[in-house]
């Protein structure tokens, strides 16, 4: 396998983007930041891949319009996934592994506020037995949270602890749109929203975009003193139905964890849009108590659709670059109630980059 590292990262998060859902205007400065971080121009990028959804944009082929932000003369090698940035990164990593290219810039964007996000996402459910009822994202997470509370796997206090720690950490994250921790007691005193979820248990509706730069071998070493080497990527999927899986578990996350080497991980950036989902992920990944979880504040403090997962990769990579940590794991999710789970292990050395 080729040694591939994350060497660039840029993001924007906001409650409401005052601009077109094509987000071209949002992407141009992100690409400029990536060029500045790497010293490259667009012609140094071997492969481009984006993640977005037309259902979010409310128009067809929005990803084609977004290509304007790249500039396509001479033509570029470009692809798209109807998934989060983390999956666009997965495709780019594979592309680099084929040997066809050495570098890639992957990006994602979404204006969640253009529609009713929790309703729009009902279109990712079973079209015969679920979508006609329009089960919204928050409700499906609520059913999962209740299942765990009833089973005694977690409680409201444990959920509030996740939220309070996230809001506290987000104070240091300039991109977080919800921040400011208080105390578990104060959070528990807040009213229920979608019982058993309080509003702070749910990621805020977030607009935004993000970009990651990948490079192989010496190209990565030229960009960073400490590139964030990808030690392994794995992705598994559970059945979509809410009735046929134990909602207190995420078997696909456990399988993804078994496929990579998590020994010695110091930092975990987990894409948990609902507080109880962090608790599920910690268990499925078998994270020790001393692993620092979501130092960025995580998805509970800002979760732009289609980049919220990839941002976890960028946040973890930035901590490798800075020397703050030597090994981290980034996680991205998709689908209802943690149906899909992707893990990306990042390290300061190329040791173990054989997955």
């Amino acid at each position: 396998m080729r040694d591939v590292a994350v060497v660039g990262f840029a993001q924007r998060q906001m409650a409401e983007f005052d601009g077109s859902p094509t987000c071209v205007e949002l992407l141009v400065p992100l690409f400029a930041e990536c060029y500045e971080q790497t010293g490259w121009t667009r012609r140094d990028i071997g492969f481009w891949c984006s993640g977005s959804s037309d259902y979010l944009a409310g128009r067809s082929f929005s990803f084609v319009q977004a290509v304007d932000a790249i500039g396509v003369i001479p033509p570029v090698n470009e692809s798209h996934v109807e998934m989060d940035l983390a999956w666009a990164m997965y495709e780019a990593w594979l592309k680099i592994q084929t040997g066809e290219v050495d570098t890639a810039l992957v990006y994602a964007f979404g204006k969640s506020s253009a529609g009713v996000l929790r309703r729009t996402l009902a279109l990712q459910l079973d079209p015969y037995t679920m979508t006609p009822l329009w089960p919204d994202t928050v409700s499906l997470a609520g059913l999962q949270a209740r299942a765990g509370i009833d089973a005694g796997v977690w409680d409201e206090r444990a959920m509030a602890e996740v939220a309070n720690r996230s809001l506290t950490d987000a104070e240091k994250n300039e991109y977080a749109i919800r921040k400011g921790g208080s105390s578990v007691e104060e959070l528990l005193a807040k009213p229920m929203y979608a019982d058993p979820l309080r509003k702070h248990d749910c990621a805020p509706v977030t607009d935004g975009a993000a970009a990651l730069v990948l490079a192989a071998g010496d190209k990565a070493r030229k960009v960073r003193d400490r590139p964030a080497w990808i030690g392994g990527i794995s992705h598994y999927i559970d059945p979509m139905s809410m009735g046929t899986r134990d909602l207190t578990r995420a078997p696909s996350a456990a399988r993804a964890a078994a496929a990579v080497d998590l020994d010695g991980v110091e930092v975990a950036e987990l894409h948990a849009p609902f507080s109880h989902q962090e608790l599920i992920l910690r268990r499925e990944l078998g994270l020790a108590d001393d692993v620092r979880v979501n130092p960025s504040g995580g998805a509970l403090t800002g979760n732009p659709m289609f980049s919220g997962g990839g941002i976890r990769v960028g946040e973890a990579a930035a901590r490798i670059w800075s020397g703050e940590t030597s090994k981290a794991v980034a996680h991205a999710t998709s689908g209802p109630a943690l149906q899909q789970n992707l893990l990306c292990v990042l390290g300061s050395t190329t040791e173990g980059t054989t997955n």
Binding site: V24, A69, G71, P132, D136
Partner: protein
Amino acid sequence: MTRTLSAPVTVAFDYTRSTGPVLGRFLTGLRDATVVGARTSDGTVVVPPPEYDPVTHEPVTDFVEVASTGTVTSWTWVPEPVKGQPFDRPFAWALVALDGADAPLLHALDVASPEQVSSGMRVQVRWAEERVGAITDIACFEPEGAEAAGVSTSSTTDAGSTTGDGVTGVITPVSLDYLYAASPEESAFYRGLNEGRIVGQRCPSCQKVYVPPRSACPSDGTPTAEEVEVSQTGTITTFCVVNVPFLGQKITPPYVSAYVLLDGADIAVLHLILGVPAEEVRMGMRVKAVWKPREEWTYSLENIDHFEPTGEPDADYESYRHHL
């Protein structure tokens, strides 16, 4: 003035899907006011039936009729329902293990407050009055013992009802509402049209003028900043004669749709050509914008009613061959 113009947009489509034998059996059952699950290879009864066995991956064929009463295994409260949900007032979603089934079914539960629902409570199906073979044939669940508000099930499960034609397809209407914002550059374009002007933007790198303007030059990715008003006169670069009627057509065929390269612009706009017989329209023809009466103007390219010939000599092919 806000930075961008925006307008409500609804995107709607009726998805027509075939059901196949398994979901068809399930939906046929609902139409006939019975709930049908399937026994999978591990012996459990799953509702709705999965099309393939999760362990053996064989098609599922062992259908089992289960009760329309059951037990809540999990629930959540919906304080602010969204369009299309079973209720437009607060309600609960519940996972309900129907008697005779092992896997719970997701549906709405009609209770007035979260205090009236709990895990373990007994509920029953409330059937929709009109049933068509869809998941919405179950109107919702309701606490067990509630007076049947819908049609009594016994009258519709008479012998013979399930031997009629089975459900083979569903039509699922999907409609999404957006507040669609134009980009700042597009907003400048539409504001210009509202004032009778056609505004583009010039790329600072390659000097190309885009009409309508874009947020970045698609050739080189440079943000476009300089606003340029272009001429209302231009050249037809290419065209087509529309002879075929289609849904939503506003003009009676035949008519001519053409790309008009406005003088000063580097990209053509698509518009209607009138004031000349269709067979006389040609590449290179010089045309000018004909605006609607001022009182009808809005933030739209439709402020220009059509383009018509200026009577000038045709443009040289060389003058527009790079814009085809």
